[in-house]
C-alpha cells in the first residue's frame, strides 16, 4: 500500500502541476483576448492575404488566402533546406575525407576550415554574406557572364531557364529507366546468389539511364530550349536582366551560410564514421580475397554509413531549423511570411505562432521517426 502511494503521488502531483500551468495560461489568454476583442479561431486562413512575396516557387499574389501564403512560404523554407542539405553534404564529405588525408597541408587546411566556420555564429555568417560580400558584386550592366550564360549581380544570380515540350514523356522515360535499374539490381543479386556470376550492373544501369531519356528526345517528340537572361535597360542608369530564372541574393546568402556552417558538422560526422572502422576489417576483407573496390563497397562503406548517417541526419534537421534565420535577411520563408507579416496583419499571435511551431515540430518528428526506423533496420543483429 505504502509502495503504491509512493508511485502514484509524485505522478499525480506532476500531472496536476502541468494541468495547473496550462489552465493558468489558458484562462489568462481568454481574459486577455476578450479585453482586446480578439477571438480565437482559424477562420483567418481563408481570408485574403493582401501582401506580396518577393520570391515564390508557385504562383502567388496578394489576392490569395493566408493558407496559400503559408503553403508557398513553407515551400520556400523547404527549398532553402533542400539546397543547403545538398551543398553541405558535398562539402562535408570532401572536408571530412580531407581531414583524414596523409597530406599535411590538406589535413590542416581542412581542420582550419572546420574550426573557422564552426565557431562563428550562423546569424553573423548570414549577415556577412548578405550585407557585406554579396553587396560587393557588380551591377547588372557591369556583370561579366559566368560559364558564358549565367550572371552574378548585386540583384541576384541569373541562370537560363529550361523550356520543355512534352515534359511528361521525358519524365516517364526517366522513371521507367530508374525502375528498370532497380529490377536489374534485384535480378543481378539473384543470379549471383544462385550461380555466383556477377553482372556488370553499374555499366548497364548507366547505359539505361542515359539511353532511355535520350530516346524520348529522338522518338517521343521531347524538345528542350533554354531561355537566356538578357540585359534590359529600364531607364538611363537602371538595368535589369529579363528571362531565365533569377535567384535572389537572400537565397544565395542563406544557402551559402547554411551549407558552409553545417558542412563543418557533417565533416566531423564523416571523419568519425571512417575513423570508427578498425583496420582489421579492411585486412580481414583483403585476406579473403576481395578486391579494393569490393572492400570499399561491401565492407567499409556499410559499416561507416551506419555510424555516419544518424548524426548527419541530425545535422540536416538542424539545418532545416536554422533556415528559419531567413527572417533576419527578409527571405520570404515560413517564419518571415507567416510569423512575421501575417501575424502583424491579423494579430492572431497564438494561432500563428502555434501553427509555425507545429510545422517545424512535425518536420522534426517525422525525420526522427524515419531515423529510428532506419536505425532499427541497419542495426547489427547479434545472435
Amino acid at each position: 500500500m505504502n509502495n503504491k502511494i509512493k508511485r502514484i503521488l509524485p505522478q499525480l502531483l506532476t500531472v496536476l502541476f502541468v494541468i495547473f500551468v496550462f489552465g493558468f495560461f489558458t484562462i489568462n489568454a481568454q481574459v486577455n483576448m476578450d479585453n482586446r476583442g480578439i477571438d480565437f479561431g482559424f477562420g483567418f486562413l481563408s481570408q485574403e492575404a493582401s501582401f506580396d512575396m518577393q520570391f515564390t516557387l508557385l504562383d502567388y499574389d496578394g489576392q490569395d488566402s493566408y493558407l496559400w501564403a503559408y503553403v508557398v512560404a513553407l515551400l520556400n523554407t523547404l527549398l532553402v533546406s533542400f539546397l543547403g542539405i545538398i551543398f553541405c553534404t558535398i562539402l562535408g564529405v570532401i572536408i571530412g575525407v580531407a581531414r583524414l588525408s596523409q597530406n599535411f597541408l590538406i589535413k590542416n587546411s581542412a581542420a582550419w576550415y572546420v574550426e573557422f566556420f564552426r565557431n562563428i555564429p550562423l546569424l553573423l555568417q548570414i549577415f556577412f554574406w548578405y550585407y557585406a560580400a554579396l553587396r560587393a558584386l557588380p551591377l547588372p550592366e557591369n556583370a561579366q557572364p559566368w560559364f558564358g550564360v549565367t550572371y552574378m549581380t548585386i540583384k541576384g544570380y541569373y541562370i537560363p531557364s529550361m523550356i520543355w515540350e512534352n515534359l511528361n514523356v521525358f519524365m516517364s522515360c526517366l522513371i521507367a529507366a530508374i525502375v528498370a535499374v532497380i529490377f536489374l539490381r534485384v535480378y543481378a543479386k539473384k543470379i549471383q546468389e544462385r550461380e555466383g556470376k556477377q553482372l556488370p550492373v553499374l555499366y548497364i544501369s548507366l547505359a539505361l539511364i542515359a539511353i532511355l531519356p535520350l530516346l524520348s528526345f529522338l522518338i517521343g517528340g521531347v524538345t528542350l530550349d533554354f531561355e537566356m537572361p538578357v540585359l534590359k535597360q529600364l531607364a538611363q542608369t537602371s538595368f535589369i536582366f529579363e528571362g531565365g530564372i533569377a535567384l535572389p541574393p537572400e537565397l544565395i546568402a542563406l544557402v551559402l551560410a547554411l551549407s558552409l556552417y553545417t558542412s563543418t558538422f557533417v565533416a566531423e560526422c564523416v571523419r568519425a564514421g571512417i575513423q570508427g572502422i578498425s583496420k582489421g576489417q579492411k585486412e580481414a576483407a583483403a585476406s579473403v580475397g576481395l578486391t579494393p573496390n569490393q572492400i570499399l563497397k561491401l565492407v567499409i562503406m556499410p559499416q561507416a554509413l551506419r555510424i555516419i548517417i544518424p548524426p548527419t541526419t541530425n545535422q540536416y534537421l538542424n539545418l532545416t531549423k536554422n533556415s528559419s534565420l531567413a527572417a533576419a535577411i527578409a527571405y520570404p520563408d515560413l517564419v518571415l511570411v507567416f510569423a512575421g507579416t501575417a501575424l502583424m496583419q491579423t494579430g492572431k499571435a497564438i494561432e500563428i505562432v502555434g501553427i509555425t511551431m507545429l510545422t517545424y515540430l512535425s518536420i522534426s518528428l517525422a525525420i526522427a521517426a524515419l531515423m529510428n526506423w532506419y536505425n532499427k533496420r541497419i542495426e547489427i543483429k547479434e545472435k
Binding site: Q102, F104, L105, P121, L123, L124, V335, M357
Partner: protein
C-alpha cells in the same frame, strides 16, 4: 602518368633532386613575385598557359623530388607528408598557391591600406578597411546604448560575477561538500542580484537604466550566463524525469524535451515576444529581456537534459544496484551516488551546449534586443557611417570566433582529461 614520369627521371638521384628543387623553387617564386610584387615572369607565355605555368612547373618538380629515401631529413619529411602521390602533389601545390595568392590582398585590406586614425568617415581615404568605424563605435558594440559614464557598472558586475565563480577553488577541505550546493543554488542567486542591482540599478543610489538600453557584447554575456545557470538545474530534473520509471513523469518529460528540440529557436523567441504576454495575467508586466531569457532557458534546458541523460545512461547498472543495496532511497541514491558521477561525465557535453548557446544569442536581435548583431545593424544604417558593413561583420566575427574557439578548445581538453581518468 606515374610510369611515364618515372621514365624521364634520371638514374642519378642527385640530378633528380637538383632538377626537382630548382623547378619547384622557380614555380613558387613565380607565384610569390606575382602576388606580392605584381611581377609576372611567365607573362610572355601565350594565353592561359601563364596561369597554369607555375602549376605545371611545380608538379614536375615534385615528381622529380619523389624518392623513397634520399638521406636529407627535410626532403624525406616533405615526401612523406605532402608529396606521396601525383594527386597529393597537385593538391599541395594548389593549396600553397591559393594561400600565396590570397595572402597579399587580405593583408593589404586588413592592415597596409587600412585606416584607424581620425573620428569621422572622412578619415578613411585608403582602399583598405576603415577601422576608424570600429574605433568610434567600439563602446556601442560592447555596451549597447548603456550610458557612457556608467560603463564601470557593467565592468565591475562582470568582474564580481567571474570572481565569485572562482570562489569554489578556494573552499577549505571541510567546506568542499557544500561546493555543489554553492554552484547550483547560492551562486546563481548572488549573480542575479549583482547583475540586477549593479547593471540595472534603481537602488543604493545607482541610477536606473532600463533593459532597452542594454546591448552589445555585454548583453550576449548576460543572456548566455543566465540561461546557462538556469537551464542546468532544469535540464537535470528533466533528465531524471525521462529516466524515471513512473510513466506520467516520463511521458511529460519526453514530451517537453521533444517539443523544444523540435522547434527552431527563432520561433521560440517570437513566442516569447508576441505570444507569451497573452498568457500572463492582465496587469502583470514582464520585461522583454526577462521573457527572452526565460524562453532561451526553457529551450536550452531540453538540450541540456539530453546531454545529462547521456551521462546517466553511461553509468553502469552496478552503481544503482549498489546504492539500492545500501538501502538508499531514490533521492539519496541520485544525489550522493549517481549524479556526482554522471555530471562529471557530461561536463564536456555541457560545455558544448553552452558553446551552442553563446552562438545562438545573436538571434535575440530578431525580437529587437540590440546585442552585437543588432548594434551592427544600427551602425550600418547610420547615415554618417554608411558602407562599412564588411568591417563591422568581420570585427564581430573575430570576437565571436575567439570566444567560441577558446571554449571549444577548453571543452576538448576537458574531454581528453576525463577520458583518461576513467
Amino acid at each position: 602518368m606515374n610510369l611515364s614520369l618515372n621514365k624521364i627521371k634520371s638514374q642519378n638521384q642527385m640530378t633528380n633532386i637538383y632538377i626537382g628543387s630548382s623547378l619547384l623553387i622557380l614555380s613558387i617564386l613565380d607565384v610569390f613575385l606575382n602576388s606580392f610584387f605584381r611581377i609576372n615572369i611567365s607573362g610572355s607565355l601565350p594565353g592561359n598557359l601563364s596561369i597554369f605555368f607555375p602549376l605545371i612547373l611545380g608538379f614536375l618538380g615534385l615528381s622529380y623530388l619523389r624518392t623513397e629515401y634520399s638521406g636529407y631529413k627535410f626532403l624525406d619529411s616533405l615526401n612523406k607528408n605532402i608529396n606521396t602521390t601525383n594527386f597529393n602533389a597537385f593538391l599541395t601545390l594548389f593549396i600553397t598557391f591559393a594561400i600565396l595568392k590570397a595572402f597579399p590582398p587580405a593583408l593589404s585590406w586588413m592592415i597596409l591600406d587600412a585606416n584607424i586614425s581620425g573620428d569621422t568617415k572622412e578619415a578613411c581615404t585608403g582602399t583598405g578597411a576603415c577601422w576608424t568605424y570600429i574605433k568610434v563605435w567600439f563602446k556601442r558594440f560592447m555596451y549597447g546604448m548603456y550610458p557612457n559614464e556608467l560603463h564601470w557598472r557593467i565592468n565591475s558586475a562582470f568582474l564580481l560575477v567571474i570572481g565569485l565563480g572562482f570562489v569554489g577553488y578556494f573552499f577549505k577541505e571541510n567546506l568542499k561538500k557544500y561546493l555543489a550546493l554553492y554552484y547550483v543554488a547560492i551562486y546563481p542567486i548572488i549573480a542575479f542580484l549583482i547583475i540586477y542591482y549593479l547593471i540595472s540599478g534603481g537602488a543604493f543610489g545607482l541610477v536606473w537604466v532600463e533593459t532597452g538600453a542594454w546591448g552589445g557584447l555585454s548583453l550576449t554575456f548576460i543572456v548566455s550566463f543566465f540561461c546557462l545557470i538556469f537551464c542546468f538545474p532544469l535540464g537535470m530534473i528533466l533528465a531524471l524525469g525521462r529516466r524515471s520509471n513512473l510513466p506520467a513523469i516520463r511521458y511529460i518529460s519526453v514530451g517537453y524535451i521533444e517539443f523544444w528540440r523540435g522547434v527552431p529557436l527563432i520561433t521560440v523567441l517570437f513566442m516569447s515576444s508576441v505570444m507569451f504576454p497573452m498568457f500572463l495575467p492582465q496587469d502583470f508586466f514582464m520585461d522583454k529581456l526577462v521573457r527572452v531569457i526565460i524562453a532561451i532557458t526553457l529551450f536550452e534546458a531540453a538540450y541540456c537534459a539530453e546531454v545529462i541523460r547521456g551521462g546517466l545512461q553511461a553509468l553502469p547498472r552496478g552503481q544503482y544496484d549498489a546504492a539500492k543495496s545500501l538501502g538508499m532511497g531514490y533521492w539519496k541514491m541520485h544525489i550522493f551516488v549517481i549524479l556526482p558521477q554522471a555530471l562529471k561525465l557530461v561536463i564536456p557535453g555541457i560545455a558544448n551546449t553552452f558553446l551552442a548557446l553563446v552562438k545562438d544569442t545573436p538571434l535575440i536581435f530578431v525580437v529587437g534586443l540590440a546585442e552585437i548583431a543588432g548594434m551592427l545593424a544600427l551602425a550600418k544604417t547610420n547615415p554618417k557611417w554608411l558602407g562599412f558593413a564588411m568591417e563591422g561583420y568581420i570585427f564581430a566575427a573575430i570576437i565571436f570566433w575567439i570566444i567560441c574557439y577558446a571554449m571549444s578548445k577548453y571543452s576538448y581538453n576537458l574531454e581528453e582529461k576525463y577520458k583518461t581518468e576513467r
